[in-house]
Every structure is written in structure tokens, then in C-alpha cells.
């Protein structure tokens, strides 16, 4: 039981990091649709660089740069050039996927460095919880940090209040003296860097190695997770852990029902649709009225300025 929960927490780590990054980006009002491509290209880059250098950490840095660079293209083209974010994001998705296949061709099947396990002394000795949460590695601890930090940032700091301002009402934030477009650019880049780190987490930690199917379309899942989570870091994290639990469960079911492996890669997607229908259902949207104190957590509305270009009049 401990081992199962331990592997759920570990399996969900890249998804957590990617969806926290995208939550920050979207909260500021920009959609980075390229996640599927960004994750693949950064997973490939991380593996290639770590393979050359022989050290996993360098791979993570390279992956963060790739994710940040793709995000910067989207931010610049939408903020600076007023191009459609979805269009540029979609083109970059396909481009990055093909680029990863093209450049990564020679790395398929190679073995590279990996992130070593790092049980935290004393904490990992706590019965049950120690084994589940603190007998992990640095990537997993980083995923915990991203949840806590994103939540703290949004709801307990002044810049966090500003990020909600530029995402919800850019004109009002601008009138208060916030440089909307500059902040949007840098939050998009920051989110992209986190997506890149998530990619590296696949090729250097969770799955090890590089192949085209390595990341299992989880970029799309991360994008859906942000919507399912109603742009609230804790609910996004809850979704990601539920997804991780299903992944681990499905993997264990493989022994019982051999046919499952064919359905496995597809199964998340009908679930994704149902989950989105659920959070937009009348019943769920009225929950916020019933528990007014938890409205932040229960709301499903996108930031009002999401995807729209802000121009000062």
C-alpha cells in the first residue's frame, strides 16, 4: 500500500510541475498551447545534454531553457506582434514534436544519467507518510515545492495579486500602474521553463531514456488539468494526483487484464472530456454558492482576460 502511494506521488510529479507552470502562464492571461510539443522537445533535449555531459542536472537546465524559449516565442508573437496565441501555440506543438523526433533519432535506446533517490533523513522514518512523501527524489520534492509556492504566490503576495489582476482585468491593472505586457511576457517564460523541467523529469527520472512515445501525450493532459483545476493550484494538483493514481492503477491492472495495455494510452482522454463536463455542470458550479468560503477553490471560470491581447488605449 505504501509502495503504491509512493509510486502515485512519483508518477504525478512531472504532470504537477507542467500544470503548475501552465497555471501561472494562464493566470497572467496567456495560453501556452504548445505543452505537448514543449514537453517532448525538452525531454529529448534534457536526455541528449545529460547524455553528453554525463550529469542529470545539466539536462534539467537545458530543458528549462527549451521550454522557456518556446514560451518566449508565444509570448512575443502574441504580446508584441498581436498574433493569435492558439495559432502560434498549435504550430509550435507540431513543430516541437517533429523536431524532437528528428533530433532525437540517434538517442533512442541509449542509457543516460538519472536523478538519484534521496530519502530525507528523519522525515522518511515517519510511519506511512514518510515512506509516501519523503522517500522520493529531488524532482518529486520540487513538485511539492511548485504546488506550495504557486499557492503562496497567488494568494499571499502582492505580485501574486497583480498576476490575477493582469489575467482578469488587464485594463484595471494597467491603470493601477502595473506593466501588464511585460509581466505577461515573463510569467509565460517562467511557466514555459517549468514545463521544460517537467519534460526533463520524464527522460531523466520517471521513464529514463528517450523515445517518441515517452511522454504519452501528457502535455495535453496538463492543459486539461489546468481547466479541471479551475486555475487554482491546489485543485490542479488534486487533479494531477488523481490522474497519477489512475495511471498506477491501470499499470497494475495490466497483470489482471492483459488487454488493458492496448486501451491504456487512450483511456485518459474520454476521462478528460468527462472531467471537464463535470466541472462545468450546473451542479458543480452551484457548489461555490453552497460553500462561499471555498469559492476560489470551487470556481471554474477562466481568467477573464485569458487569450486576449492587451493594448493601452
Amino acid at each position: 500500500m505504501e509502495a503504491t502511494f509512493n509510486s502515485i506521488i512519483a508518477a504525478a510529479a512531472p504532470l504537477i510541475i507542467a500544470s503548475m507552470g501552465e497555471t501561472i502562464t494562464e493566470k497572467s492571461g496567456v495560453i501556452n498551447l504548445s505543452l505537448e510539443g514543449s514537453i517532448r522537445l525538452s525531454a529529448m533535449t534534457a536526455f541528449a545534454v545529460a547524455f553528453w555531459v554525463g550529469h542529470a542536472l545539466v539536462g534539467f537546465v537545458a530543458a528549462a531553457l527549451v521550454g522557456a524559449a518556446i514560451a518566449a516565442i508565444i509570448a512575443y508573437s502574441s504580446i508584441g506582434l498581436k498574433l493569435n496565441q492558439i495559432a502560434v501555440g498549435f504550430v509550435l506543438t507540431l513543430l516541437a514534436i517533429d523536431l524532437a523526433s528528428f533530433l532525437g533519432d540517434s538517442f533512442v535506446g541509449e542509457r543516460g544519467p538519472r536523478v538519484p533517490p534521496l530519502p530525507i533523513p528523519f522525515l522518511s522514518d515517519i510511519p506511512f507518510f514518510g515512506k509516501v512523501f519523503f522517500d522520493q527524489d529531488l524532482v518529486v520534492y520540487f513538485s511539492f515545492l511548485t504546488i506550495a509556492a504557486t499557492w503562496w504566490f497567488f494568494y499571499r503576495t502582492r505580485p501574486g495579486l497583480n498576476i490575477q489582476g493582469i489575467g482578469e482585468r488587464p485594463a484595471a491593472a494597467f491603470a493601477r500602474g502595473v506593466n501588464v505586457n511585460k509581466l505577461r511576457f515573463w510569467y509565460t517564460v517562467l511557466g514555459g521553463a517549468m514545463v521544460g523541467i517537467a519534460g526533463a523529469a520524464y527522460s531523466l527520472d520517471v521513464k529514463l531514456g528517450w523515445r517518441e512515445t515517452l511522454t504519452l501525450n501528457l502535455g495535453w493532459i496538463a492543459l486539461a488539468m489546468v481547466i479541471f483545476g479551475g486555475w487554482h493550484p491546489l485543485r490542479v494538483a488534486l487533479g494531477a494526483y488523481m490522474f497519477g493514481a489512475l495511471q498506477v492503477l491501470a499499470f497494475q491492472l495490466q497483470d489482471v487484464f492483459p488487454g488493458v495495455s492496448q486501451v491504456l494510452p487512450v483511456a485518459p482522454f474520454p476521462l478528460m472530456i468527462l472531467a471537464l463536463v463535470f466541472v462545468y455542470s450546473d451542479w458543480f458550479s452551484k457548489l461555490g454558492d453552497r460553500f462561499p468560503r471555498m469559492r476560489n477553490l470551487l470556481g471554474s471560470e477562466a481568467p477573464a482576460g485569458l487569450g486576449q491581447v492587451f493594448e493601452r488605449e
Binding site: L81, K82, V88, V91, S101, Q262, F269, Y280
Partner: protein
Amino acid sequence: MTRSLRLTATAVGFVAALVFGILLLIAIGAPPFEALGLIVEGSVGSLSKLSVTLLAWSPLILAAAGLVVTFAAGLWNIGVEGQVIVGAIAASWVARSIPGPVWAVVPATIVAGAIGGALWALLAGVLKTHGHVHEIFGGLGLDFVAAGFATYLVIGPWKRAGVASTSGTDIFREEAWMPEFEAFGVSWPVLPVLLGVASVIVVWLLLRGTLFGLKLKAVGSNTYSSYLRGIPTNRYLLGAFAIGGALAGVAGTVQVTAFHHKLVPAISGGYGFLAILVVLLAGFSAVAIAPIAFFFVAISVGSTQLDLRLGIDSAFGGVLQGVIVLFVLLAGGWAAKYGSNTLTPRKEP
């Protein structure tokens, strides 16, 4: 932005993309001009290769024509890939189960493909209009479901006698194949090309010359104000989904009855997503998709030669296509920002 400025920007984007491609080939140690030459030779280098390229061109323009309709309604029909697949599955079902002569079975497969694609698109549409699920996620989810369903059919209920293999179902009987026409010693995909060209013309007429098209574009540019003006917006959105899906479904039919002559797991050939790139590059215009789709499909068909002859991963073709669209979009953005002083509103969904 003036027309000449837009053309200049497009040309600059193309050239920059080509330079990027050449640099990329040099970077991996491949001979760049030999590789590009192979792409040209492998797609239009001989009559038989031209015939193959035209056969691949047809489903691409069918899917792209459908996307022009959904884009006109302001919809991001990323579900197009799944609509191609379900069209292919529906056509395969007819081809496998309905007996009869060619003149009856082939039209039946086309109709079945159109219905299959339209229904799959309507599913994404209803999820949007009644479930508030954005069409990108609804459509994308349904893409993967369709792909999984095709794989399931190929290795499950429709598997070849004795062997369950992902290489495909049994070959259809010849009455279900789209007829080919021999000329100059090569068989030409006349029917698929006619279907593709017809779809472009119909979509152009629909958006240019009908009240439906006019109202659809109104819904696309401002759904809420169209609603206030009394247009039943949901019905128009679903109509756009159905038309787009039907054309994508016919593209799927072409894939099974004219190209593979059987159902295979990756039946769409990625043409749905590629069609989105084509339409973005075409600036959402129905007329421009035909030449652009030909150029793109030539890259796709030609780059398979890279793998065979130079050992370069054929994903290079996809990289080149993506870079072309990205650079042309960026160049257009630069031209609009720095090139002209007049602020002309640009049309985008």
C-alpha cells in the same frame, strides 16, 4: 496591410524557413541540397510519383476545406484528426459489409465517411454548445478516442483471419476501391482529386455566396452580438461542425478506399493536423488551400525518401512544414507592426 506587403512578408518567411531547414541539415551532418533535391524528386520527380502525391493531396484539401468552414465560425476544430479517422472507419464498415458493384459501393463508402465524420464532429460540437467544453479539448479527446477505436478494430473484431496484427485489416474487395484511370502508363487518382477540388469550390461558394455563409461568418466574428441579432448561434456552430466533419470524413474515405484499400491504425496519416497548418498558412482562405496543400503534401511524400536514401529521420518534413508556417506567421506580424502606418484590422478567428 497592403497586399504587396503581405506577399513580401510571406516570401521572406518562406525563404527564412528554407534557410533554417538547410542549417538544420548541415547541423546533423547531412548534405542539405541533396536532401532537398530528394524531397522534390520523391514527390514530383516522375509521373508515378506525381500520382502518389496527388492521391495524398486529395484528403489533405478535403480536410482543409472543412476546416475553412469551422474557422469561419470561429472554431478551433482540432478534432479534425478524429473526424478523418471515424470517416475512415465508417467507410471501411461499408466496404467490408455491403456487397455490390463498384458504382454502388464506392458512393456508399463516401456517404458513410461523410456521415461518420459529421457525427464525430457534432459530438465535439454538442460538448461545446451544451457541455461548455472548449472544442480544442473536446476535439482533442475525441481524436485519441477515435485513434484507439481504429486500433481496437484492427487488432480485435476486424483482425485478419488468424493473425491479429497492427498492419491492418484484410484488403477490401476490389469493388470497394475508388476506381483509378490509366494514362501515360500511370494510374491516376481522378476520383479523389475531383472530390478534393469539388470540396474547395463548394466551401468557397458557401462562404462567398450564401446567406448561411454570411451568417456563419457573423457568428464566427462575434457570437454574442449575432445571438442578440437573432441568429440561432448554436445551430450555426453545430452546422459548421457537421460540414467540417463531413468533409474530413470523406478525406478518411479516400484514405481507406483509394490509398490503403484497408483500415490501418494510423489511418489519418496526420492529415487532419497538417490541414490545420495548411489553413493557417492560407490565411483561412478557401482558394489558397489548394496550392499550399500541394506544396505541403509534396514535402510529406518527398521526405519519406530521406529515410530510405540518406538515413535522415523523415520527421524533417514535418519540421520544415512547421517552420514555414511559424516564420510566415511571424513575418506577417512584423509586417503588420512595422510595415504600414495604417491600422487595418486583420481577420483571425
